[in-house]
Amino acid sequence: MMIISTSYHIFVKEFVSEFRTRYALNALLMFVVTTLSIILFSIGQESPSIDVLSGTLWIVIFFSAMSGLSRTFVAEEERGTSLTLRLLVNASSVYIGKLVYNFALILVLSVIIAVSYVLFITEFTVKTFEIFWLTILLGSAGLASASTILAAIIAKANTKGTLFPVLAFPILLPLLLTCINATKLATEGAFLVEAVKEFQILISFTVVMIATSFLVFDFVWKD
Protein backbone atom coordinates (compact mmCIF):
# COMPACT_ATOMS: atom_id res chain seq x y z
CA MET A 1 0.00 0.00 0.00
CA MET A 2 1.36 3.34 -0.99
CA ILE A 3 0.44 5.07 2.22
CA ILE A 4 2.57 2.68 4.24
CA SER A 5 5.54 3.22 2.01
CA THR A 6 5.26 7.02 2.05
CA SER A 7 4.75 7.02 5.82
CA TYR A 8 7.81 4.87 6.16
CA HIS A 9 9.90 7.31 4.13
CA ILE A 10 8.68 10.19 6.24
CA PHE A 11 9.60 8.28 9.38
CA VAL A 12 13.06 7.57 7.99
CA LYS A 13 13.47 11.22 7.06
CA GLU A 14 12.63 12.29 10.63
CA PHE A 15 15.04 9.75 12.01
CA VAL A 16 17.94 10.63 9.75
CA SER A 17 17.27 14.33 10.17
CA GLU A 18 17.41 14.02 13.93
CA PHE A 19 20.53 11.93 13.68
CA ARG A 20 22.23 14.52 11.48
CA THR A 21 21.42 17.60 13.47
CA ARG A 22 21.53 15.85 16.78
CA TYR A 23 21.26 19.02 18.81
CA ALA A 24 17.70 18.21 19.74
CA LEU A 25 18.59 14.68 20.70
CA ASN A 26 21.55 15.85 22.73
CA ALA A 27 19.43 18.41 24.51
CA LEU A 28 16.88 15.73 25.30
CA LEU A 29 19.43 13.32 26.68
CA MET A 30 21.00 16.04 28.77
CA PHE A 31 17.54 16.90 30.02
CA VAL A 32 16.94 13.31 31.07
CA VAL A 33 20.32 13.09 32.79
CA THR A 34 19.78 16.39 34.60
CA THR A 35 16.29 15.53 35.78
CA LEU A 36 17.36 12.11 37.00
CA SER A 37 20.28 13.64 38.83
CA ILE A 38 18.03 16.17 40.51
CA ILE A 39 15.78 13.38 41.69
CA LEU A 40 18.69 11.35 42.95
CA PHE A 41 20.16 14.34 44.78
CA SER A 42 16.89 15.24 46.38
CA ILE A 43 16.37 11.70 47.54
CA GLY A 44 19.78 11.73 49.11
CA GLN A 45 19.85 9.65 52.24
CA GLU A 46 16.09 9.53 52.57
CA SER A 47 14.01 6.53 51.69
CA PRO A 48 11.01 7.89 49.83
CA SER A 49 8.05 5.61 49.56
CA ILE A 50 7.92 3.54 46.46
CA ASP A 51 4.62 5.16 45.53
CA VAL A 52 6.29 8.55 45.41
CA LEU A 53 9.02 7.09 43.26
CA SER A 54 6.48 5.63 40.84
CA GLY A 55 4.98 9.09 40.56
CA THR A 56 8.30 10.82 39.93
CA LEU A 57 9.20 8.26 37.28
CA TRP A 58 6.27 9.34 35.20
CA ILE A 59 6.85 13.02 35.91
CA VAL A 60 10.28 12.70 34.35
CA ILE A 61 8.89 10.77 31.39
CA PHE A 62 6.14 13.35 30.93
CA PHE A 63 8.56 16.26 30.90
CA SER A 64 10.86 14.46 28.50
CA ALA A 65 7.87 14.03 26.21
CA MET A 66 7.10 17.73 26.54
CA SER A 67 10.66 18.61 25.61
CA GLY A 68 11.03 16.32 22.68
CA LEU A 69 7.78 15.44 20.97
CA SER A 70 6.77 18.80 19.58
CA ARG A 71 9.92 19.22 17.59
CA THR A 72 8.77 17.14 14.67
CA PHE A 73 6.10 19.62 13.61
CA VAL A 74 7.54 22.82 15.01
CA ALA A 75 10.85 22.35 13.20
CA GLU A 76 9.07 22.01 9.86
CA GLU A 77 7.31 25.33 10.37
CA GLU A 78 10.43 27.08 11.59
CA ARG A 79 12.59 25.94 8.72
CA GLY A 80 9.98 26.55 6.05
CA THR A 81 9.75 22.90 5.03
CA SER A 82 6.14 22.60 6.09
CA LEU A 83 5.01 23.86 2.69
CA THR A 84 7.43 21.46 1.04
CA LEU A 85 5.87 18.46 2.77
CA ARG A 86 2.41 19.80 2.14
CA LEU A 87 3.07 19.74 -1.61
CA LEU A 88 4.86 16.40 -1.61
CA VAL A 89 2.72 13.94 0.28
CA ASN A 90 -0.79 13.31 1.43
CA ALA A 91 -1.64 14.43 4.94
CA SER A 92 -2.20 10.97 6.42
CA SER A 93 1.29 9.80 5.56
CA VAL A 94 2.75 12.83 7.27
CA TYR A 95 0.73 12.06 10.37
CA ILE A 96 1.61 8.37 10.46
CA GLY A 97 5.31 8.94 9.78
CA LYS A 98 5.60 11.51 12.54
CA LEU A 99 3.48 9.49 14.95
CA VAL A 100 5.69 6.45 14.60
CA TYR A 101 8.77 8.62 14.98
CA ASN A 102 7.42 10.21 18.16
CA PHE A 103 6.56 6.80 19.53
CA ALA A 104 10.05 5.50 18.88
CA LEU A 105 11.57 8.60 20.46
CA ILE A 106 9.54 8.55 23.66
CA LEU A 107 9.91 4.78 23.96
CA VAL A 108 13.70 5.09 23.89
CA LEU A 109 13.64 7.94 26.39
CA SER A 110 11.26 6.21 28.79
CA VAL A 111 13.29 3.00 28.67
CA ILE A 112 16.43 4.98 29.52
CA ILE A 113 14.62 6.66 32.39
CA ALA A 114 13.08 3.42 33.62
CA VAL A 115 16.38 1.56 33.51
CA SER A 116 18.07 4.43 35.36
CA TYR A 117 15.42 4.28 38.03
CA VAL A 118 15.86 0.55 38.53
CA LEU A 119 19.63 0.77 38.53
CA PHE A 120 20.32 3.90 40.51
CA ILE A 121 17.49 4.13 43.01
CA THR A 122 17.80 1.26 45.43
CA GLU A 123 14.37 1.76 46.97
CA PHE A 124 12.74 1.39 43.59
CA THR A 125 12.25 -2.33 43.44
CA VAL A 126 10.16 -3.77 40.66
CA LYS A 127 8.66 -7.12 41.51
CA THR A 128 6.53 -7.86 38.46
CA PHE A 129 8.66 -6.94 35.48
CA GLU A 130 6.01 -7.83 32.92
CA ILE A 131 3.66 -5.18 34.27
CA PHE A 132 6.46 -2.64 34.50
CA TRP A 133 7.71 -2.93 30.95
CA LEU A 134 4.27 -3.32 29.45
CA THR A 135 3.30 -0.07 31.18
CA ILE A 136 6.36 1.66 29.74
CA LEU A 137 5.46 0.40 26.28
CA LEU A 138 1.77 1.26 26.41
CA GLY A 139 2.37 4.50 28.24
CA SER A 140 4.79 5.58 25.53
CA ALA A 141 2.23 4.73 22.88
CA GLY A 142 -0.37 6.83 24.66
CA LEU A 143 2.00 9.74 25.14
CA ALA A 144 3.01 9.70 21.48
CA SER A 145 -0.57 9.42 20.24
CA ALA A 146 -1.74 12.52 22.11
CA SER A 147 1.47 14.50 21.67
CA THR A 148 1.62 14.17 17.91
CA ILE A 149 -1.72 15.80 17.15
CA LEU A 150 -1.13 18.45 19.81
CA ALA A 151 2.29 19.19 18.33
CA ALA A 152 0.64 19.68 14.95
CA ILE A 153 -1.76 22.15 16.55
CA ILE A 154 0.77 24.28 18.39
CA ALA A 155 3.09 24.37 15.39
CA LYS A 156 0.53 26.66 13.77
CA ALA A 157 0.33 29.01 16.74
CA ASN A 158 2.66 31.55 18.31
CA THR A 159 4.63 30.89 21.50
CA LYS A 160 4.86 27.21 20.59
CA GLY A 161 7.22 26.09 23.29
CA THR A 162 5.23 27.06 26.34
CA LEU A 163 1.91 26.24 24.69
CA PHE A 164 2.67 22.55 24.29
CA PRO A 165 2.72 21.47 27.96
CA VAL A 166 -0.29 23.66 28.72
CA LEU A 167 -2.38 21.89 26.11
CA ALA A 168 -0.95 18.46 26.75
CA PHE A 169 -1.17 18.20 30.51
CA PRO A 170 -4.97 17.97 30.94
CA ILE A 171 -5.20 15.54 28.04
CA LEU A 172 -2.42 13.32 29.33
CA LEU A 173 -3.29 13.39 33.01
CA PRO A 174 -5.65 10.37 32.90
CA LEU A 175 -2.96 8.46 31.02
CA LEU A 176 -0.25 9.42 33.50
CA LEU A 177 -2.33 8.53 36.52
CA THR A 178 -3.10 5.15 35.02
CA CYS A 179 0.58 4.54 34.30
CA ILE A 180 1.52 5.50 37.84
CA ASN A 181 -1.12 3.12 39.14
CA ALA A 182 0.17 0.29 37.01
CA THR A 183 3.75 0.99 38.04
CA LYS A 184 2.69 0.83 41.66
CA LEU A 185 1.16 -2.56 40.99
CA ALA A 186 4.43 -3.66 39.43
CA THR A 187 6.38 -2.60 42.50
CA GLU A 188 3.91 -4.35 44.78
CA GLY A 189 4.40 -7.63 43.01
CA ALA A 190 0.86 -7.93 41.70
CA PHE A 191 0.01 -10.59 39.18
CA LEU A 192 -0.19 -9.62 35.54
CA VAL A 193 -3.96 -10.10 35.46
CA GLU A 194 -4.47 -7.52 38.19
CA ALA A 195 -3.15 -4.81 35.90
CA VAL A 196 -5.45 -5.74 33.03
CA LYS A 197 -7.81 -2.86 33.72
CA GLU A 198 -4.94 -0.41 33.55
CA PHE A 199 -3.71 -1.85 30.28
CA GLN A 200 -7.22 -1.67 28.86
CA ILE A 201 -7.33 2.01 29.67
CA LEU A 202 -3.91 2.65 28.15
CA ILE A 203 -4.72 0.79 24.98
CA SER A 204 -8.14 2.37 24.53
CA PHE A 205 -6.69 5.83 25.19
CA THR A 206 -4.09 5.30 22.48
CA VAL A 207 -6.61 3.91 20.02
CA VAL A 208 -9.10 6.69 20.65
CA MET A 209 -6.41 9.36 20.33
CA ILE A 210 -5.11 8.00 17.07
CA ALA A 211 -8.57 7.55 15.59
CA THR A 212 -9.56 11.10 16.56
CA SER A 213 -6.27 12.45 15.25
CA PHE A 214 -6.91 10.86 11.88
CA LEU A 215 -10.27 12.56 11.71
CA VAL A 216 -9.03 16.03 12.61
CA PHE A 217 -5.48 16.08 11.26
CA ASP A 218 -6.51 17.46 7.88
CA PHE A 219 -8.04 20.50 9.54
CA VAL A 220 -4.83 21.22 11.38
CA TRP A 221 -2.33 20.43 8.64
CA LYS A 222 -4.16 22.11 5.79
CA ASP A 223 -4.73 25.82 5.96
Binding site: P170, I171, P174, F219
Partner: protein, 237 residues
Protein backbone atom coordinates in the same frame (compact mmCIF):
# COMPACT_ATOMS: atom_id res chain seq x y z
CA UNK B 1 -34.89 35.39 25.60
CA UNK B 2 -38.39 36.26 26.55
CA UNK B 3 -38.82 38.65 29.42
CA UNK B 4 -41.32 36.52 31.25
CA UNK B 5 -38.83 33.65 31.18
CA UNK B 6 -36.11 35.88 32.60
CA UNK B 7 -38.32 36.94 35.44
CA UNK B 8 -39.45 33.39 36.01
CA UNK B 9 -35.88 32.11 36.19
CA UNK B 10 -34.86 34.87 38.59
CA UNK B 11 -37.73 34.08 40.93
CA UNK B 12 -37.14 30.35 40.51
CA UNK B 13 -33.50 30.49 41.42
CA UNK B 14 -34.10 32.85 44.30
CA UNK B 15 -36.57 30.33 45.66
CA UNK B 16 -34.08 27.55 45.26
CA UNK B 17 -31.33 29.45 47.01
CA UNK B 18 -33.64 30.15 49.92
CA UNK B 19 -34.76 26.53 50.04
CA UNK B 20 -31.24 25.29 49.86
CA UNK B 21 -29.88 27.48 52.59
CA UNK B 22 -32.76 28.21 54.90
CA UNK B 23 -34.73 25.01 55.05
CA UNK B 24 -33.69 23.19 58.16
CA UNK B 25 -32.52 19.65 58.19
CA UNK B 26 -34.01 17.56 60.93
CA UNK B 27 -34.09 13.91 61.81
CA UNK B 28 -37.79 13.58 61.33
CA UNK B 29 -39.28 16.26 59.09
CA UNK B 30 -42.66 17.58 60.22
CA UNK B 31 -43.44 20.03 57.42
CA UNK B 32 -42.68 20.45 53.73
CA UNK B 33 -39.97 22.95 54.38
CA UNK B 34 -37.84 20.61 56.38
CA UNK B 35 -35.40 18.13 54.89
CA UNK B 36 -34.56 14.82 56.49
CA UNK B 37 -30.99 13.85 57.23
CA UNK B 38 -29.02 11.86 54.75
CA UNK B 39 -26.81 9.47 56.69
CA UNK B 40 -23.21 10.49 56.49
CA UNK B 41 -23.88 13.96 55.15
CA UNK B 42 -26.34 15.70 57.44
CA UNK B 43 -26.24 19.47 57.03
CA UNK B 44 -23.61 19.34 54.37
CA UNK B 45 -26.11 17.72 52.02
CA UNK B 46 -27.28 21.24 51.14
CA UNK B 47 -24.33 21.37 48.85
CA UNK B 48 -26.05 18.92 46.54
CA UNK B 49 -28.54 21.55 45.58
CA UNK B 50 -25.86 23.92 44.35
CA UNK B 51 -22.71 21.99 43.61
CA UNK B 52 -24.21 19.23 41.50
CA UNK B 53 -26.26 21.41 39.13
CA UNK B 54 -23.29 23.73 38.63
CA UNK B 55 -21.01 20.81 37.87
CA UNK B 56 -23.62 19.50 35.51
CA UNK B 57 -23.88 22.89 33.81
CA UNK B 58 -20.15 23.20 33.29
CA UNK B 59 -20.08 19.82 31.56
CA UNK B 60 -23.03 20.84 29.38
CA UNK B 61 -21.20 24.05 28.52
CA UNK B 62 -18.15 22.12 27.47
CA UNK B 63 -20.19 19.69 25.39
CA UNK B 64 -21.88 22.59 23.62
CA UNK B 65 -18.56 24.28 23.01
CA UNK B 66 -17.22 21.13 21.44
CA UNK B 67 -20.35 20.54 19.33
CA UNK B 68 -20.28 24.09 17.97
CA UNK B 69 -16.62 23.54 17.23
CA UNK B 70 -17.44 20.46 15.20
CA UNK B 71 -20.15 22.33 13.31
CA UNK B 72 -17.69 25.13 12.60
CA UNK B 73 -15.25 22.68 11.08
CA UNK B 74 -17.93 21.43 8.74
CA UNK B 75 -19.57 24.70 7.80
CA UNK B 76 -16.76 27.23 8.23
CA UNK B 77 -19.25 29.83 9.41
CA UNK B 78 -17.51 31.97 12.00
CA UNK B 79 -20.74 32.40 13.94
CA UNK B 80 -20.37 28.86 15.24
CA UNK B 81 -16.98 29.74 16.59
CA UNK B 82 -18.50 32.67 18.44
CA UNK B 83 -21.02 30.30 19.96
CA UNK B 84 -18.24 27.93 20.89
CA UNK B 85 -16.28 30.62 22.73
CA UNK B 86 -19.34 31.95 24.50
CA UNK B 87 -20.18 28.51 25.75
CA UNK B 88 -16.61 27.95 26.85
CA UNK B 89 -16.44 31.28 28.69
CA UNK B 90 -19.47 30.39 30.72
CA UNK B 91 -18.22 26.89 31.20
CA UNK B 92 -15.01 28.25 32.66
CA UNK B 93 -16.91 30.42 35.11
CA UNK B 94 -19.15 27.55 36.12
CA UNK B 95 -16.17 25.25 36.47
CA UNK B 96 -14.49 27.65 38.86
CA UNK B 97 -17.69 27.77 40.89
CA UNK B 98 -18.00 24.00 40.85
CA UNK B 99 -14.43 23.57 42.02
CA UNK B 100 -14.89 26.12 44.78
CA UNK B 101 -18.21 24.75 46.03
CA UNK B 102 -16.68 21.31 45.92
CA UNK B 103 -13.65 22.43 47.89
CA UNK B 104 -15.76 24.14 50.52
CA UNK B 105 -17.82 21.00 50.93
CA UNK B 106 -14.62 18.96 51.09
CA UNK B 107 -13.33 21.09 53.92
CA UNK B 108 -16.42 20.49 55.99
CA UNK B 109 -16.74 16.83 55.16
CA UNK B 110 -13.24 15.48 54.91
CA UNK B 111 -11.23 18.11 56.73
CA UNK B 112 -9.23 19.69 53.95
CA UNK B 113 -10.01 21.70 50.86
CA UNK B 114 -8.20 19.43 48.46
CA UNK B 115 -7.81 15.67 48.50
CA UNK B 116 -6.95 14.48 45.02
CA UNK B 117 -10.06 12.39 45.03
CA UNK B 118 -10.86 11.27 41.44
CA UNK B 119 -13.94 13.46 41.08
CA UNK B 120 -12.17 16.46 42.47
CA UNK B 121 -9.27 15.77 40.15
CA UNK B 122 -11.69 15.49 37.23
CA UNK B 123 -13.23 18.90 37.77
CA UNK B 124 -9.74 20.30 38.11
CA UNK B 125 -8.72 18.74 34.80
CA UNK B 126 -11.80 20.29 33.18
CA UNK B 127 -10.64 23.62 34.56
CA UNK B 128 -7.23 23.06 32.99
CA UNK B 129 -8.84 22.16 29.68
CA UNK B 130 -10.85 25.37 29.67
CA UNK B 131 -7.69 27.28 30.53
CA UNK B 132 -5.73 25.58 27.77
CA UNK B 133 -8.51 26.34 25.28
CA UNK B 134 -8.29 30.05 26.01
CA UNK B 135 -4.50 30.10 26.08
CA UNK B 136 -4.48 28.42 22.67
CA UNK B 137 -6.90 30.98 21.29
CA UNK B 138 -4.81 33.86 22.55
CA UNK B 139 -1.78 32.43 20.75
CA UNK B 140 -3.35 32.60 17.28
CA UNK B 141 -3.82 35.89 15.49
CA UNK B 142 -5.86 34.90 12.52
CA UNK B 143 -9.59 34.45 13.00
CA UNK B 144 -10.18 31.38 10.84
CA UNK B 145 -7.13 29.52 12.04
CA UNK B 146 -7.95 30.35 15.64
CA UNK B 147 -11.44 28.96 15.18
CA UNK B 148 -10.20 25.81 13.44
CA UNK B 149 -7.44 24.95 15.90
CA UNK B 150 -9.49 25.62 19.01
CA UNK B 151 -12.31 23.48 17.60
CA UNK B 152 -9.84 20.68 17.03
CA UNK B 153 -8.47 21.02 20.54
CA UNK B 154 -11.93 20.93 22.06
CA UNK B 155 -12.59 17.71 20.14
CA UNK B 156 -9.41 16.13 21.44
CA UNK B 157 -10.16 17.24 24.96
CA UNK B 158 -13.73 16.06 24.58
CA UNK B 159 -12.55 12.63 23.61
CA UNK B 160 -10.54 12.26 26.83
CA UNK B 161 -13.46 13.28 28.99
CA UNK B 162 -15.00 9.80 29.16
CA UNK B 163 -11.66 8.58 30.40
CA UNK B 164 -11.38 10.80 33.35
CA UNK B 165 -14.98 11.13 34.31
CA UNK B 166 -16.12 7.56 34.16
CA UNK B 167 -13.07 5.40 34.19
CA UNK B 168 -11.06 6.91 36.97
CA UNK B 169 -13.50 6.98 39.84
CA UNK B 170 -14.23 3.35 39.12
CA UNK B 171 -10.60 2.41 39.26
CA UNK B 172 -9.49 4.49 42.19
CA UNK B 173 -11.48 4.62 45.37
CA UNK B 174 -12.10 8.09 46.60
CA UNK B 175 -13.84 10.16 49.20
CA UNK B 176 -16.36 11.78 46.90
CA UNK B 177 -19.88 10.40 47.26
CA UNK B 178 -20.40 7.80 44.59
CA UNK B 179 -16.77 6.63 44.31
CA UNK B 180 -15.71 3.06 44.83
CA UNK B 181 -14.82 3.50 48.48
CA UNK B 182 -18.12 5.03 49.56
CA UNK B 183 -20.11 2.51 51.64
CA UNK B 184 -23.33 4.25 50.71
CA UNK B 185 -23.12 2.96 47.20
CA UNK B 186 -23.44 5.23 44.23
CA UNK B 187 -24.12 8.33 46.22
CA UNK B 188 -27.24 10.18 47.23
CA UNK B 189 -28.09 11.43 43.79
CA UNK B 190 -27.96 8.19 41.84
CA UNK B 191 -29.51 6.11 44.57
CA UNK B 192 -32.26 8.58 45.26
CA UNK B 193 -31.57 8.72 48.94
CA UNK B 194 -33.11 12.14 49.13
CA UNK B 195 -36.57 12.65 50.49
CA UNK B 196 -39.22 13.70 47.99
CA UNK B 197 -39.26 17.36 48.94
CA UNK B 198 -35.51 17.63 48.85
CA UNK B 199 -35.46 15.79 45.56
CA UNK B 200 -37.87 18.33 44.19
CA UNK B 201 -35.70 21.23 45.25
CA UNK B 202 -32.71 19.48 43.74
CA UNK B 203 -34.35 18.92 40.37
CA UNK B 204 -35.71 22.44 40.46
CA UNK B 205 -32.19 23.66 41.00
CA UNK B 206 -30.96 21.54 38.11
CA UNK B 207 -33.54 23.02 35.79
CA UNK B 208 -33.01 26.53 37.14
CA UNK B 209 -29.28 26.52 36.63
CA UNK B 210 -29.60 25.05 33.16
CA UNK B 211 -32.00 27.80 32.11
CA UNK B 212 -29.73 30.39 33.71
CA UNK B 213 -26.85 29.00 31.71
CA UNK B 214 -28.77 29.34 28.44
CA UNK B 215 -29.76 32.87 29.35
CA UNK B 216 -26.19 33.90 30.06
CA UNK B 217 -25.01 32.06 26.95
CA UNK B 218 -27.44 33.88 24.67
CA UNK B 219 -26.29 37.20 26.13
CA UNK B 220 -22.66 36.31 25.61
CA UNK B 221 -23.17 35.22 22.01
CA UNK B 222 -24.99 38.43 21.16
CA UNK B 223 -22.22 40.42 22.81
CA UNK B 224 -19.57 38.64 20.74
CA UNK B 225 -21.47 39.07 17.52
CA UNK B 226 -21.86 42.79 18.13
CA UNK B 227 -18.20 43.12 19.06
CA UNK B 228 -17.13 41.45 15.86
CA UNK B 229 -19.50 43.55 13.80
CA UNK B 230 -18.18 46.74 15.37
CA UNK B 231 -14.62 45.66 14.68
CA UNK B 232 -15.53 45.02 11.09
CA UNK B 233 -16.98 48.49 10.71
CA UNK B 234 -14.10 50.30 12.38
CA UNK B 235 -11.55 48.43 10.31
CA UNK B 236 -12.99 49.33 6.94
CA UNK B 237 -12.95 53.02 7.77
Amino acid sequence: MKTWLKIAVSVWLTGIIIAGIAFSMVKVPQTWYEFPFIPGLEEKARNIIFHVPISWATVVAFAMSMIYGIIYLRKKDIDYDLRSVSSASLGLLLCILATVTGAIWAKFNWGSFWNWDPRQTSIFILLLIYGAYFVLRSAIDEEERRATLSSVYSIIAGVTVPFFIFVMPRIMSGLHPGSLGDEQGKGPVLEFKMAPNMLMVFFASLIGFTVLYFWMYSLKVRQMRIERHVQQITETH
